[in-house]
């Protein structure tokens, strides 16, 4: 068949009716401070991993919140658990523990 360069586009919408937010609810339980995030990005700005790779902590947390889990398992590996992000967060969020718990969750759900 002739290739006209068209392909079926994936749906880009965040589908709040079908998304699976269990990871977020789990994190809310074990580290309630996650709810306080306003996405100011200070954590990402200070993160060493984020300077050289695509890794972006505040975005990951937002994806988790929205139930968009696709890339999280891969992304979260890039963190070195240095804890700098926790030091700078104006909301006093324990970001390091959020990452730690996310890894635990992903590991136990494999």
């Amino acid at each position: 068949m002739a290739d006209f360069g068209y392909k079926i586009q994936e749906d880009r919408q965040i589908n709040y009716d079908s998304n699976d937010r269990t990871l977020f609810y789990f994190l809310k339980r074990v580290e309630p401070s996650i709810s306080l995030c306003i996405g100011c990005g200070t954590c990402s700005a200070t993160c060493t991993a984020g300077q050289f790779t695509q890794f972006d902590l505040h975005k990951i947390m937002l994806y988790v919140r929205r139930g968009e889990k696709v890339h999280i398992a891969n992304e979260i590996k890039k963190c070195m658990l240095c804890g700098k992000c926790s030091l700078v967060c104006p909301k006093g969020i324990n970001t390091r523990n959020i990452i730690f718990q996310t890894r635990k969750f992903i590991h136990s759900n494999k």
Binding site: I38, G39, C40, G41, T42, C43, S44, A45, T46, G50, Q51, D56, H58, K59, V88, C89, P90, K91, G92
Partner: protein
């Protein structure tokens, strides 16, 4: 004999409340710790959102202060006693003054930016506060950095000392967003070649004409707004500053050098406010400001009968709101002293 009121703190709220109380026929004594009346207004060249001169507002306030008001400047309060519904106030000259009601208008202090070490205030030459930029405007001298160079790029950092659990202040200081927008446009007026950047978490443009000023900043003055909170600033070899921030809307880390970094410092309860709270045993709220009897309906009333509050003594607020609040406090005090029946609602 007419009843008397002692007002403690001669800033905007203290002046305007004194004016109204005196006009209503009460004997007013006003104490101010500094040499001059006017408080922080003395240090501000132009006011948001209209950029009219602060001195015009001060002139207006002064016009309200009639000759009957007894003003004591350079005067600190050391002791306050109460007996049979009267208050006895001692100042640092050991003079004792008597009053039927007290109004506390001791206001706010600006956040000490040294406490946010990662921004380098007090360490790096070219990190200044919003108040210091205002002093530059007020001096009428050319805008230059510490090395005497005309800045080509200036960054404004919002929320310094506000909305920040790490420094213990979770509240928003309300005035610094619009002040940053105002100052960025003024820089563009003074130095049309200088780029200006505002680093913000949220832009709080709630007041009348604030949004218009913001629109003007974008369209007419070309101020750039970057949504992200600085993680740190570092001095470079020529004294400029390298700032690191996440551009959260793009979703990528951003770095930039600026010749001058302006920290938008927030409000904290002033030393005077804290001292008076201690002397009187006034309740304070979780933010350290004076607690009001009801957040909606009794905003000038405290936990002590006969002791009232106005202005930034209870929370950060704009000049407009401070003036309104001072007049409201004067009305509240008049009702209390004249035993108007509407007072019975308060109990």
């Amino acid at each position: 004999m007419s009843k008397s009121v002692i007002v403690i703190g001669g800033g905007i709220a203290g002046m305007e409340a004194s004016a109204y109380l005196s006009a209503m026929g009460f004997n007013v004594t006003l104490f101010e710790k500094d040499e001059k009346l006017g408080g922080h207004l003395l240090n501000w060249e132009r006011l948001f959102p209209t950029k009219r001169l602060g001195s015009e507002v001060l002139t207006f306030l002064k016009k309200g202060m009639d000759d009957k008001i007894k003003v004591h400047t350079n005067s600190n309060i050391t002791k306050i006693n109460s007996e049979n519904g009267k208050y006895f106030v001692t100042n640092d000259n050991n003079e004792i003054f008597e009053a039927d009601a007290l109004l506390i208008t001791t206001g706010y202090d600006l956040f000490d930016a040294r406490r946010k070490e990662e921004y380098g205030y007090g360490i790096y030459d070219n990190v200044i506060t919003s108040a210091e930029l205002e002093t530059m405007f007020l001096s009428g001298k050319p805008i230059v950095n510490k090395q005497g160079k005309v800045p080509k790029r200036i960054g404004f950092v919002h929320c310094v000392g506000s909305r920040d659990r790490k420094v213990g202040n979770v509240y928003c200081s309300k005035v610094c967003c619009v002040t940053a927008v105002k100052q960025a446009t003024e820089i563009r007026e003074h130095l049309p070649e200088c780029e200006t950047y505002c680093f913000y978490m949220d832009l709080r443009m709630y007041g009348a004409k604030f949004e218009e000023l913001y629109n003007e900043a974008q369209e007419k003055y070309g101020v750039t707004f970057i949504r992200g909170r600085l993680s740190e600033a570092n001095e470079t070899i020529d004294g400029s500053l390298l700032v690191k921030v996440e551009d959260t809307l793009v979703g990528r880390p951003l770095k930039m050098t600026v010749d001058l970094l302006v920290l938008m410092v927030g409000f904290e309860p002033s030393k005077g406010t804290k001292d008076i709270a201690k002397i009187l045993n006034l309740s304070t709220n979780s933010n350290g400001f004076i607690e009001v009897a009801d957040e909606h309906t009794l905003t000038n009333v405290t936990n002590l009968k006969g002791v009232f509050v106005a202005g930034t003594t209870t929370s950060p607020r704009t000049i407009t709101n401070t003036i309104n609040d001072a007049r409201a406090a004067a009305a509240e005090i008049a009702c209390y002293l004249n035993l108007y029946t509407i007072q019975s609602r308060n109990n």
